[in-house]
Amino acid sequence: MLNYQAPLDLAFQALADPTRRIMVERLSRGPASVSELARPLDMTLSAVVQHLAVLEASGLVRSQKVGRVRTCRIEPTALHSAERWISERRASWERRLDRLGAFLVETDPTAKPPRRKK
């Protein structure tokens, strides 16, 4: 579990920034060049490159330079581990609410209701 912790921390820190979340959101729709990533953002290209570096260090994003164009793509494994924690909390409430449903049926004062015709 400790091996798991460090990359997850980096992923959370990377996603704590709204600009980087926009970049990840864009990349989740498919690979993009650095200038494509920068287009909707109100900042210099060098600032975008700095954010990209944080995302790469976190393992969330990979980039590759081909000729003069650096193409970025998402690294699904890291993102998956960041989301896992939240989805587990959600799942625990889902199960609890299913239990509530079973409880309501079990304690129904009108158990075995007659099937009435409409």
């Binding site: 939240i86 609890r96 509530l100 449903g101 309501l104």
Partner: protein, 156 residues
């Protein structure tokens, strides 16, 4: 050394139950009823359970495996509208470590044939994720036990 980090999340769950809003609300507002479905690990001793279902009242539950990690749930009921809405804030501790702080809104809507329940949690999850998987696994086991228990009660 603890690495400090925060993660915010909001999620919504909906269920439709074949019961009146009053019955569904009672399952949340009555201590005995809530204990029957909401708590995991019936085999874990409950060392403390305070349940003050009123605005400003608190729910405080301490449980955990004998001699093991203390699981502490602490809630304050902020808003209660009978048969319609419950808003509470809660935090979770594992031993001395606070792992999350959440605001939970539960809404009950009368619909044809029963009640639609909308559960919304807005939370900040703190520092440690590594214990969560184990805790959730525990919850699953607890719910299975409860299911069995309820069936037995009904059969008796």
């Amino acid at each position: 050394m603890t690495v400090r980090n925060t993660r915010h999340a909001t999620f919504t769950i909906e269920r439709v139950y074949p019961a009146t809003p009053a019955r569904v609300f009672a399952a949340w507002s009555n201590k005995e009823a809530k204990t029957a479905w909401a708590y995991c690990h019936p085999e874990w001793p409950v060392s403390e359970h305070v349940f003050e279902f009123r605005e400003g009242g608190r729910e405080h539950l301490v449980t955990g495996p004998a001699g093991g990690t203390r699981h502490v749930f602490d809630a304050v009921f902020h808003d209660i509208v009978a048969d319609q809405r419950i808003v509470f804030a809660y935090d979770m501790h594992l031993d001395e470590r606070r792992i999350s702080v959440s605001l939970t809104t539960i809404e009950f809507f009368a619909v044809a044939g029963g009640t639609r329940l909308v559960f919304t949690e807005q939370g900040v999850f703190l520092d440690g994720y590594d214990d969560i998987a184990g805790r959730e696994e525990g919850t699953r086991i607890g719910l299975d036990n409860l299911d069995r228990q309820l069936r037995q009660q009904r059969a008796a």
